[in-house]
């Protein structure tokens, strides 16, 4: 716990990426495998399910500190971070724990889940008394699960890759899928032999940045493979060892929900991984995405719904071919292999390439997007590899308005009139330096069923109240659409949007997948130029 608390402090102390990577590498190099496994689990945001209610935790910390409720409130107001407030308030530390991180987690933290409140309180107080202040802070962060120190998954991947001498692409890949933190997992993670890998494991998705400024800056359109930007569920279809796996971008295994794709997998050669978009599709064209919502939540898919809303995989790219990782091959090579393998008349539809001699010609074509139920264009540079995560340069999304941003629900309050009994007014946050900052409010766009579902979520997951406003656990992701975006000094985020509305509920995404303020600032830059 000493080393881990020191790592937390080191990561927190610097804003410089290189210094963060360096601190991580030093920690990982010295840590026991089981400690390293737990450390990265928390750092990439895969914490165990919520253990304790914050209210109770606060109550016990107050009792231990001898501080009344109102004074805790004053302190929290000054600090703005729950775990930190508790760490600063607890009586001066007299000890420092030499127990390693995995012991703290496996023997002290996880068992709290089964314990009754009295035992939990006793165990926690005991734990605080064994720790020094930086340890208490890191421990409180583990307990509350707000474990963010401005460290992105990419950065953690980079640190493990550099520490182990394994390529970052391979490392990112190994961190995907299902795993549990253990010494064994860590050894496999940093092992140079990769053949024992989990056969269901997907590759990290390559993500696109929105075009900033004028698209002309990207050069000749002939250098770009241009596709429609489909509006479905981004996913990977994996065929290995005669089994099929369908993963969402949110790293959820969805094979059961798409029997069409399970069947498609059986038609594909052994050792194939396709990146694509799952779309409701009929008679050679997509259905509106709302149709997909009808089947996505269902446990049992009857013949009726399967007949009404069949899906296809619109294939974008080929990542594994004959069991070989082909992500480093040029885009056109991968595309050619993908086209060759598509079984005729199957649920695999290759995403068509759009051609235009000039950007103006393409601009005109892009105007058809709405009619085609797409969101604009994807621009992929010929010759480029399939990259890990969001990297600038090779993949761009050139979307039509409205702009869309994936945000996390952070506050909710009841509506007016007819909707006064339901939480219908929402505030959404986006990431900034590891924290969610309020970005926009929206009231409309959800169906009545969805509103009821969000309402139930708010009631179950309120972490704090200020009058009618409930702060909720940041978990639900929504795609907000809006008409215009501009800089604003009156908004906490520095950005104001016009007519925000909820375009859809991204049940396929986790809070971590929401957009960041930086990405949104990029939209402002692009927008300002468009309007000049």
């Amino acid at each position: 716990m000493k080393a881990f608390a020191a790592l937390y402090a080191a990561l927190d102390q610097t804003t410089k990426t290189n210094a963060k990577v360096e601190a991580l590498k030093q920690y990982l190099a010295a840590a026991a495998p089981e400690d390293a496994a737990w450390a990265i689990t928390f750092l990439i945001g895969r914490r165990p399910k919520r253990l304790l209610e914050s209210r109770k935790l606060a109550q016990w910390a107050m009792e231990e500190a001898g501080v009344p409720d109102w004074l805790f409130g004053e302190c929290y107001h000054a600090v703005g971070d729950f775990a930190e407030t508790m760490a600063l308030l607890l009586p001066p530390a007299e000890n420092s724990s030499a127990l390693p991180l995995h012991v703290w987690i496996e023997e002290r933290l996880l068992p709290l889940r089964e314990a009754d409140d009295e035992t939990r309180r006793a165990r926690l107080v005991e734990a605080w008394r064994e720790m020094d202040e930086p340890q208490r802070f890191a421990w409180n962060k583990l307990l509350t699960g707000e474990f963010r120190v401005g460290v992105s998954q990419t950065l953690v991947v980079r640190a493990i890759a550099e520490a182990s001498g394994i390529a970052p692409e391979v490392m990112a890949h190994r961190l995907m899928g299902d795993w549990l933190p253990s010494a064994e997992f860590w050894r496999q993670l940093v092992a140079h032999d990769t053949r024992d890998a989990d056969i269901s494991r997907p590759y990290p998705f390559c993500l696109a940045y929105p075009v900033e400024g004028e698209v002309e800056e990207l050069g000749d359109p002939a250098e770009w493979q241009i596709e429609w930007k489909w509006d479905g569920i981004r996913s990977q279809l994996i065929r290995r060892q005669r089994q099929t796996f369908v993963w969402s971008r949110g790293e959820e295994l969805m094979t059961d929900r798409f029997p069409e794709l399970d069947a498609l997998g059986a038609l594909l050669p052994e050792g194939t991984v396709i990146d694509g978009e799952i779309l409701p599709w009929k008679d050679g064209a997509p259905l509106v995405f709302a149709q997909m919502q009808r089947r996505i939540g269902r446990k049992v898919l009857g013949p009726k719904i399967l007949g009404e809303v069949p899906v296809v995989l619109v294939g974008y790219d080929l990542l594994e071919w004959n069991g070989e990782d082909v992500r480093e091959r040029p885009l056109e090579w991968r595309r050619a292999r993908l086209e060759e393998m598509a079984p005729a008349g199957s649920a695999l539809v290759i995403s068509p390439v759009v051609r235009g001699a000039t950007w103006d010609e393409l601009r005109a074509l892009r105007e058809e997007s709405r009619g085609r139920k797409v969101e604009g264009f994807m621009l992929k540079r010929y010759g480029s590899p399939y990259r890990v995560g969001r990297k600038k340069g090779d993949w761009w999304k050139w979307k039509i308005n409205p702009y869309t941003v994936d945000c996390v629900l952070i506050y909710a309050q009841p509506g007016n009139g007819r909707r006064a009994s339901l939480f219908t007014d929402y505030t959404f946050g986006v990431w900034d330096d590891g924290k969610l900052v309020p970005f926009a409010k929206a009231y409309s766009g959800l169906t009545d069923d969805e509103i009821r579902e969000v309402d139930a979520f708010v009631r179950r997951n309120t972490v704090e109240k200020w009058g009618p406003v409930h702060a909720v656990k940041p978990e639900l992701v929504f795609e907000l659409a809006f008409e215009a975006i501009q800089k604003s000094s009156r908004h906490k985020s520095g950005i104001a949007v016009r007519f925000p509305r909820m375009a859809r509920w991204r049940k396929d995404k986790r809070a971590e997948d929401a957009d960041s303020l930086d990405t949104i600032r990029g939209l402002v830059a692009g927008h300002d130029q468009e309007n000049l």
Partner: protein, 323 residues
């Protein structure tokens, strides 16, 4: 014995103000920070050790009289004496006695040791006027000498990485408190002008402070500058420096992060929460006037713990010079 007027705390029996915010006929000054000593009054009374610092603040032409610590002077019908507050060089609590009643106006104070000033002296009184800059239980200071070791360690790390170390510290008091305990042998030492001006006054009072170095490799340097210099053109000459701030506010991560600092060193010239409660307790006062900071929190705490406490709203300029 005191009342709150527009210019600040006024004593009718002595016809003087303490640390007035506006020009007055007679001002008693607890210490030389900008929120306590202001130019324009006709006559000033402060401590002998603090006189030079106060003069630097209120101007060369000002009429300033001074008293040694502990000496009594009758002003109007009031016996006035200055006692060490342990805050900065020459800082004082002002003891007022009239017709057997004793009041103490503590100004800013701290209980922890500081080689650049006399330690805080507890004085029994009926009414104690206290500051509350850090009056929340989250504010608890560690050993200041240990913090100076952390600063040296940070400087050493930066030298090894080949980057300059810029330490922001309030130029009156905080900078000198750190410098007086600093092992400056590691590399070039550079003072921003505002800091060096005050250093000279401290040296004039017999406090040994390391001297700035001529020339040298800037990437190895420790630069001591006023926090107001953050983001200034003057700092550009030090290249990709590591930036740190020495202040009690650095106890909260958020304040450090909002200022985009690489490091925060928790060291304050104000009393922390236990220090405030200790000073108030040792004064033996039944009445406590609370100014200057987390007034509401301290008043409520004192009331819940059997004291009579009053929130005193004084007109203060926006800049809080002391921290």
């Amino acid at each position: 014995m005191l009342e709150v007027r527009e210019a600040g705390l006024y004593c009718p029996q002595g016809d003087f103000y303490i640390d007035p915010a506006l020009p007055v006929a007679r001002a008693l000054i607890t210490h030389a920070h900008g929120d306590h000593a202001r130019a324009g009054s006709q006559a000033y009374l402060t401590t002998r050790t603090g006189e030079a610092l106060v003069r630097a603040r209120v101007g060369d032409e000002a009429a300033i009289e001074s008293l040694p610590y502990g000496a009594t002077r009758r002003v109007g019908e009031v016996d006035v004496a200055f006692h060490p507050a342990g805050h900065i060089l020459g800082s004082a609590q002002i003891r007022l006695e009239h017709a057997g009643e004793v009041w103490v106006v503590s100004g800013d104070y701290k209980l922890s040791p500081d080689p650049t000033c006399m330690p805080f002296e507890p004085i029994r009184c009926h009414t104690f006027v206290t500051e509350s800059t850090f009056a929340l239980p989250i504010f608890r200071w560690g050993d200041a000498a240990g913090v100076v070791r952390e600063i040296e360690e940070w400087w050493r790390g930066n030298r090894e990485a080949g980057r300059a170390s810029v330490l922001f510290a309030y130029p009156v008091g905080k900078a000198q408190r750190i410098l007086s305990q600093l092992d400056a042998s590691g590399g070039p030492l550079i003072y921003q002008e505002a800091v060096e001006r005050v250093n000279a006054i401290y040296r004039g009072q017999g406090i040994a402070l390391p001297h700035a170095t001529e020339g040298g490799d800037l990437s190895q340097a420790l630069v001591i500058a006023s926090p107001q210099m953050q983001g200034s053109a003057w700092l550009r000459r030090f290249g990709k420096a590591s930036m740190a701030f020495a202040s009690g506010w650095m106890r909260i991560r958020g304040t450090r992060r909002r200022r985009s600092l690489d490091r925060g060193f928790v060291i304050s010239d104000h009393a922390d929460w236990p220090g405030l409660l200790q000073a108030i307790g040792e004064s033996g006062a039944e009445n406590v006037w609370v100014t200057h900071g987390y007034v509401g929190a301290l008043v409520r705490w004192l009331e819940e713990n059997g004291k009579r406490a009053v929130a005193v709203e004084l007109k203060l300029p926006a800049e809080e010079a002391a921290e």
